[in-house]
Symmetry: C2
Subunit: 329 residues, 2 copies
């Protein structure tokens, strides 16, 4: 694929600046509840930032199909709100202390309020989506949410255990790629695009989401706490085996396997250190393997949208996968 067709970060930002600002306003507006503690928690989460990559995908998908309607702003806020709702409940489940370098909401408000705040954010997202009066939009969002919730439960069941690549890909599809896919498909839904276009955009989102999560999981293993804004190797410490670890498990010596198995079962580096694990991963080329896999999905994402008409939005969509695979946090 020619790099000539790929935009730059500045071009993408210029293209979406106004829309992203409108989504921030919409998101803030939608988070206002008659119950003050909900508004407090929601605004804390908004202020925490986040990459806003899901709304960005929705905007580019809609733009690539020529949509300029207000729906793209509303639904951009909806996908970010759904994402935020899942984070609130996930932080309770993972007993997380921090999120994006700040105390997690459950640390500040307690589990009980956060269960309800998460519920409320889900409902508010559906409430806004319902105003679109588009059944396809609702089908996508409800089915997505169920898949994400099921994924989180599957994840819990597998904590501390060795899993294979197939299980890993199912988990990261549900955790991340599914929402990326739906964000893209919502662009198709509000422009009433053909099934073929819907499917191409969906494939783009799925491939990109898989790349995104593989990179996230690699960074968790290799980045420093300063850069990441959370403790390193928290996946291993929560008993989660990710792609590089699975690769090393399948290729490692008996001692390597045992070291990894120990960390996952202990959920700590008490008996085997973090550097020891990194040494095993590097010796088997497992980090490179995970990076290469992410890059292959990123390329697959670009190929998924080859048939789209040549627009600025398409150029931006061709840029996103490279941005996702080259990030350091």
């Amino acid at each position: 694929m020619s790099t000539l067709s790929i935009a730059t970060a500045k071009e993408v930002f210029d293209l979406l600046r106004d829309d992203l600002a409108a989504i921030e306003r919409e998101f803030a507006e939608q988070s206002a509840s008659p119950v003050s503690v909900i508004t407090e928690i929601a605004q804390y989460l908004i202020a925490g930032g986040g990459k806003r990559i899901r709304p960005l995908l929705l905007l580019l998908s809609a733009k690539a199909l020529g949509c300029e309607s207000e729906s793209r702003i509303k639904l951009g806020a909806v996908v970010e709100m759904l994402h935020t709702a899942t984070l609130v409940h996930d932080d309770i489940i993972d007993e997380a202390d921090t999120r994006r370098g700040r105390p997690s909401s459950n640390t500040t408000w307690g589990n009980s309020k956060c269960v309800l705040a998460g519920d409320w954010l889900y409902m508010q997202a559906f409430h806004t989506a319902l105003e679109e009066r588009n059944f396809r939009v609702l089908d996508l969002l409800i089915s997505l949410t169920q898949q994400m919730v099921e994924g989180e439960l599957l994840q819990m069941q597998k904590l501390g255990h060795l899993i294979n690549e197939e299980e890993y890909f199912d988990l990261i599809y549900r955790k991340t790629a599914c929402l990326f896919k739906v964000s893209m498909q919502l662009g198709a839904a509000i422009t009433h695009a053909s099934d073929e276009t819907d499917s191409q955009l969906g494939e783009y989102g799925r491939n990109l989401g898989l790349a995104f999560q593989i990179i996230d999981d690699v960074l968790d293993l290799t980045a420093s706490e300063d850069v990441l804004g959370k403790p390193v190797a928290s996946d291993l410490r929560e008993g989660k085996a990710t792609l590089a670890v699975i690769h090393a498990l399948e290729r490692g010596t008996g001692a390597d396997r045992e070291a990894i198995r120990k960390v996952l079962a202990d959920r700590s580096f008490e008996n085997v250190s973090h550097p020891q694990i990194l040494e095993i991963l590097n010796r088997h080329g497992s980090i490179d393997y995970a990076m290469d896999t992410a890059c292959a999905y990123a390329e697959a994402a670009r190929l998924s949208i080859a048939d789209l008409p040549e627009t600025e939005a398409k150029r931006a969509l061709l840029w996103v996968p490279g941005f996702v695979t080259s990030r350091d946090r």
Copy 2:
């Protein structure tokens, strides 16, 4: 109102037997998830029973308007599923040990899985409702769920504090009456009834729901643990002031007020005993006051549907309020 127009329990049961059995089957079917732990939790909750009063209201509302479509079965299961979802999350929040005389789901499966199981039940309810392809149905359900979640948060903020009657009625509306109202309105929504009929049925549900919850709160104070299937006076022990208690607070001596305030603040009968509180409530006629108020709402429910055509379903709806106010559990 003439008692001649009021049905008997047997008549109501005969009228709804097949539909209620169909709802049980539908509810069980809807609770099947590809993730086994969700199905386990859901089936545990179904087996726990419950009065199924919300589906019963929906069936009677639909029948009173001549509806015989499958929608009444689907949505009957939906309202019970939404109710169940709220119970799962409430049990986490209240740190409940038992529910309907059995260990609560959080005791058996832990909070984390129950947060997600509750999320899943919400989504499954919406998923089924969405199949109706009726925006009014979705508007009612989403707005309902938000009001219930907000109510639970308001409840948390008021725990341990003295509240007035207005606050109490807002809380029990959100906790119970709102879902009773929507159950009735869903009958109107699937028969595309007039706004006037929708509003009369909604009023019936609201009044009945208020009566139901006031009785529930009285039983919590006065019934025995054997009959109730849960510890007595658990509201006071959770710091919740209910109608009879609010009545006594407004009429009691300084010492009475102080005794009640102490129990609410302590969230235990360590310093003031349960019999002492009952003596205060009885001395001020507070239990009778709460019962009379419930009966007045029950009568208001009957009056709300005076304009409905005379049908078996209407006769049954006229019977329900008396059943609700005379129950002992």
